[in-house]
Amino acid sequence: MKNAWKYLGLALVGYSLLAGILSDVPRLPIVNETIRNLYYHVPMWFTMIALMGASFGYSIGALRTQSLERDRRAAHLSEVALVFAVAGLLTGMLWAKFTWGAFWTPDPKLNGTAITLLIYLAYFVLRSSVDDPEKRLRLSATYNIFAFVLMVVFIGVLPRLTDSLHPGNGGNPAFGSYDLDNRMRMVFYPAVFGWILLGFWMAQLRTRIENAANPLNLD
């Protein structure tokens, strides 16, 4: 059963989609029912970071071994990570409209997201601007490593220096502090785990489609 992880991912995501709507949640002022967005919004970021981390790993591997296959995998993982970033941004914007009153606010977390999107879009621009595959491997893997470490510094360090409207910052309660009760954990953790598995499956499919389309790519 080497595909078990895919079924597990599907089952967990399916469960969290349903349970996210049907389960009971704490009643909090302002947030109200939008607290359910925890099940749909936050897993997107966890998945994005997991995929970007894997892409970072493949880029290191590609640089060390000069393997074009690893370089392509790094790119595909980043592509899927970008899909999750957009999904996370959209679900977050929807939530912000109903709790903060606006789709977009100049919030450190939102700025960090915008920067992350720009960095990874730049990575794809770089890839598409180099024709020679070996040179593309060298340049884009270097940029991916450079950008990922800087991004972790940015989103890990900078938001802590300023206040934010976001739950968990600037005196706002995080979901985890008192309102993430055990019932919510029963949905939230499976959702995170399931979406991460689904994300890796998507990246794997992306690589296989590409390999099937260009059989000579295989090295």
Binding site: L63, N111, I115, L118, I119, L121, A122, V125, L126, S129, V130, D131, K135, R138, L139, A141, T142, Y143, I145, F146, A147, V149, L150, V153, F154, V157, L158, L161, T162
Partner: protein, 220 residues
């Protein structure tokens, strides 16, 4: 004057090469002067301090991009081989980063001087602001030198340089903005240490990463 220290030799070489192409640096200075003059024409008087601050940094960012793009793109590919015979790759990167940061500090201080001359100086804490300009301009060079090394090997250099470096510079620029806004508002030095320290941190991380990664970029 010959020195035996390989790093010093790299810096000496880089400095000599830069000095030979004074026109490019002069172009960056001219860019700053032109923008400052344009701003003084459109404002006719001292602009509000926030607008002044934003203008200064926008002008500085683009002239820095211009100056740094040239740092590797100005080197013909054949010369990468030649330089590789003389000095170690990492020393070349450090020499480039050092020369670039000296250039950027000169650019930053000249922009500040020109802005003060043409637009006035609506700044509360002048010494704090000068320190922010010096540290901020030097802090841009870590990211800019590494992305310039990447962009120089790709095919569309100039546009790629902006695409690659601006996203990575945004956090540094946001921190610089915080420090310079505080200095413009006239807050004392004790309030400036924290953002200035963050600028230094954000400059150090890309410098270390660039050092680790440059040998992989080197192979021509």
């Amino acid at each position: 004057m010959k020195t035996q220290n390989p790093l010093l030799r790299a810096i000496q070489l880089e400095w000599a090469l830069e000095f030979r192409q004074k026109s490019a640096f002069a172009a960056a200075l001219l860019f700053v002067a032109g923008s400052a003059f344009l701003a003084s024409k459109s404002y006719a008087g001292v602009p509000p301090s926030k607008a002044w601050n934003a203008l200064l940094w926008v002008v500085l960012l683009f002239s820095a991009l211009h100056a740094a793009t040239r740092s590797f793109a100005g080197v013909p590919h054949s010369r990468w081989w030649l330089i590789g015979q003389w000095i170690q790759p990492v020393h070349w990167l450090w020499a480039k980063a050092l020369v670039t940061s000296v250039q950027l500090v000169v650019l930053g201080l000249s922009s500040l001087g020109l802005f003060a001359l043409l637009l006035g100086l609506p700044v509360g804490n002048v010494s704090g602001f000068v320190a922010t300009v010096v540290l901020g301009s030097a802090g841009l060079s870590g990211v800019l030198t590494t992305t310039a090394a990447i962009a120089a090997q790709a095919d569309s250099r100039a546009s790629l340089m902006a695409v690659l470096s601006i996203p990575l510079l945004l956090p540094t620029l946001a921190t610089i903005q915080r420090a310079s806004t505080l200095a413009v508002a006239g807050l004392p030095w004790s309030e400036l240490w924290m953002p200035l320290g963050s600028i230094a941190l954000l400059a150090a991380v890309p410098a270390v990463l660039g050092t680790l990664l440059f040998p992989y970029l080197w192979k021509p």
